[in-house]
Amino acid sequence: MIPTPDLSHLTRQDYEHVYEPAEDTFILLDALEQDVEYLKSLRPRICLEIGSGSGCASSFLGALLGCTSSLYLCTDINPHATKCTVSTGKQNKIELDVVLTSFAHPLHSRLRKSVDVLLFNPPYVPTIDEEAAEAQNSADIQGAWAGGKNGMQVTNQLLGMVESLLSSNGCFYLVAVKQNDILSIRKKMLEGYGLKSEVVIQRRAGGEHLFVVKFSHGPPVQ
């Protein structure tokens, strides 16, 4: 059992601007823990989390896989979040290399077919599109949840980049809720990019029906 990362250094003021780990974060941690043997078998060299927020998930991944065995890259559009990601890494003795950017844009050309483990717990809450666009621009706490139509406005943009980022053995863990229409996400990734998928965990928590879906070129390595 790997403990949940120590977040005691983060304060109420931090959480005014940065997403506080909640059920959606914890279901992602549970999925990673459940898959730990598979993840280790990939011998990952590059892990990348988009939208790392507090840094909780990447710190956990680093503890699961070993702090020296991979590069742990994190991005977020929110400057407060990138600071918290760094400090949470430090607090948990995992070096997290953080970049303030939308998605993985400045990393994309060099990371082509190179990411072994990709994580995204996106802003998935359905809102009107304008609200999501505004939240993306202001890059503050609203950007942590405002997801536009079906909660998919931000996720859809990343879905188009996943296949070109993943290494041949690489895998992508996505957090989603029922309103995002899990079946159609999986169908789109299979038909559009040949990526196979499975639901790693689903559960109802705090009024949401949460899913973690894993995508890969499959069949997984032994």
Partner: protein
């Protein structure tokens, strides 16, 4: 943290800036050195992903000339230790990175590179 391992993966992404946009050139940097645990296995696995000339060049900009100009064929522990230091132990804390092509300036503050672009610059 802008360590050289990450710097070696960052390219300018301003709209239309598609060639000669890597590696970003360091400018007015303040660096810190922090020891990291040596993992030869990781370094061997990561080596194929490195753009060697960019790494050598960028390390020199930070005042580190320990890397050979050509990537050695024989990978021994001495070489891996040098590589370890250059990739993982040098932290650029403040300063900027400038695109060699379009000259866009990406600031680094508290060890975090700001790669955000304004709407009209996005590709």
């Amino acid at each position: 943290m802008v360590r050289l391992i990450t710097h070696n993966l960052l390219a300018c992404h301003v709209r239309g800036c598609n060639s000669n946009n890597f590696p970003l050139q360091f400018q007015d940097v303040q660096i810190g050195l922090r020891e990291a645990e040596f993992n030869p296995d990781f370094l061997r696995g990561f080596l194929p992903k490195i753009e060697w000339n960019a790494l050598v060049d960028s390390a020199r900009q930070l005042g580190d000339t320990s890397l050979p100009a050509e990537q050695p064929v024989m990978i021994d522990d001495d070489f891996l230790k040098t590589l370890h230091h250059v990739l993982l132990e040098i932290h650029v804390e403040e300063g900027a990175m400038v695109c060699p092509n379009c000259k866009h300036v990406y600031p680094i503050s508290n060890g975090i590179p700001n790669m955000l672009l304004a709407d009209h610059e996005i590709g």
